[in-house]
Symmetry: C2
Subunit: 404 residues, 2 copies
Amino acid sequence: MITVNEHYSKLQASYLFVTIARKVKEFQDVNPDVDLIKLGIGDVTKPLPATCVDAFRKGVDEMADEGSFRGYGPEQGYPFLREAIAKNDFTGMGIEADDIFISDGAKCDTGNFQELFSIDARVAVPDPVYPVYVDTNVMAGRSGTWKNGRYEGLYYLEGNSANGFIPAPPDEKLDLIYLCFPNNPTGQTASHDQLALWVEYAKKNKALILFDAAYETFIRDESLPKSIYEIPGARDVAVEFRSFSKTAGFTGTRCAFTVVPRECRAFTTEGDAVQLQPLWNRRHSTKFNGVSYPVQRAAEAVYSPEGKQQVRELSDYYLGNAAIIRENMEALGFGCIGGENSPYIWVDGKRDSWAFFDLLLSAGVVVTPGSGFGRCGEGYIRISAFNDRNKVLSAMDRIKASIS
Amino acid sequence: MITVNEHYSKLQASYLFVTIARKVKEFQDVNPDVDLIKLGIGDVTKPLPATCVDAFRKGVDEMADEGSFRGYGPEQGYPFLREAIAKNDFTGMGIEADDIFISDGAKCDTGNFQELFSIDARVAVPDPVYPVYVDTNVMAGRSGTWKNGRYEGLYYLEGNSANGFIPAPPDEKLDLIYLCFPNNPTGQTASHDQLALWVEYAKKNKALILFDAAYETFIRDESLPKSIYEIPGARDVAVEFRSFSKTAGFTGTRCAFTVVPRECRAFTTEGDAVQLQPLWNRRHSTKFNGVSYPVQRAAEAVYSPEGKQQVRELSDYYLGNAAIIRENMEALGFGCIGGENSPYIWVDGKRDSWAFFDLLLSAGVVVTPGSGFGRCGEGYIRISAFNDRNKVLSAMDRIKASIS
């Protein structure tokens, strides 16, 4: 008899965005004339940069001709892209092309990476959290049961107003630690010193950090690290996830990458160090077959001089929206985090998250209730800066009118 | 301390194609002037069909304009593609668009699907086998240890000259059964009656069939089933994997799909039926983020009238190669399977697989040794028909000259 993976039954049924979609539909059914402004889900709205489009088209053209046609590519990605990434994104950090694995999404990679570890690994996730870190560990059997709004087997790194939503390493021994900066959902960033504490913790406790840097392109403060590999020693203890989704508007185009430095290690149960890179390479080449060739060419174009300028303009545009949102929410008396080096603004709503969500929905603006990201998100909402400037301005007018 | 998934250490290090690559390199180092003809790996060589290229380009153009730009799409794939597939590939089989999950590869899907089941599921794999079925179950911890060339915890469905490489259901109770027709590597096909025995077995034993139909496009014999859903009752007990890789030359473009009929079930340990479709949907939407939009448009074009004609011409071309290979190998006195409704020809080499590989390599032709696909492949080689016609003809001349 074929029996199902029992751990799936522990997954919490009501996924955040499903509930939002239902509430939005209910509102629209009653208010069909309201043109809702959606500042909820973190999806880009501007088209692909022109130079990426040109490269994408050329890639397609190559596939149309027998002489230039490409079949299976390397599962790890083409050298032209891996080399461009190593050279441009990790200058001086000791990261080489072979350390970089091209994939079709940071969601997939952050979800899949836990497969390399034993089921009894003690997992730490931030709270509030990007739900993929949690759900993939539930599926794998590392979560224990759901009780009082949390999984008993996970360790929650609590963010709150006291620590500015940047949890410090705890005294407890943890094995696999998910960190995300600039953070989704809070938009918070971590300093060199704060990340260095985590690197030190990981060394001391033989832990591994899974560092999600999908939003690094929005960092403008030059004192902030864009990569965890700016911290000395991080190559031994950290894997980094990056994506072209937010950097270059690739959410519907699909390309990302994961950095697994050759120095990075885990351990056997006997305590012997094991190099992670060959393990991930084996996983990646067994369960994945590379990213579409024209898409890899489009991603490569991000690193051309024109590409760099165009993606900078993209993130400047969204950061302009973020500044407008933060300024307006603060003017209304709400405490805000994020929005300066991040496309997300984390707003202390001074009331229940869903109540604030409902209030803003009735004003015609969709946001994301912070409680959907975990217990520590209660009382907050996340506002996304990914939208058209005029819509952001209108949304602020609507919120002002409904709050004042 | 972060400890590694101990099951990875059970994986056999020397992956088939790595060994081939090493031998080819050694040969080329000594014989730099020989222009090797590669009939080994099953990768297409002809460009994308013209109508797919047009649709691909239009999809890219849409991404260049703010009005038509697409961000995140549905993880399950766009309705336009799911509907085209259901309508064209599964007419009269009771498969609907919601049963179809678009992905970036059948390798990924056949590798990932086992995640839905308990670790103690008794897994049956064909021998010879497409290695991904085995390796992904090893990684998950279902294989037991490697001993005498096999995993102790897997059940091997043996193919041999007596059963024509179409194993019949055994008396033993198995839970998760991987079948592949047209078969990789043997090129063998299964009849309605033969598949019906497996469907009956799965019903009786509450088992599940994972049916890999990645090569269905090559079936010309109209008496042969192209889908397992042509067998009555199969929707309850079988999941089917398909791909545009071989159908439309998408090996470097990446698009595939998996059919999980709403009737398909597994069981709780208490024996209660559980619908698989929502489980796969949860897995797919948690660990995957959809296929690139322009790629889905390119795949959709396969189902246009021009697309249908162009993909037929593609498979006709490769089948023409296959006929030449089979005819020549038989004329040399070798027994052959496949090559009539499949791009692979499975040749009884009348000697050790690697010895035959080496002999053909010395003649300047690269094939795949059958023993690399499992114990039952010993003595055979797989010849792939994916190449240019002239190269196939030259390869046959070279083989004839070296054998005679």
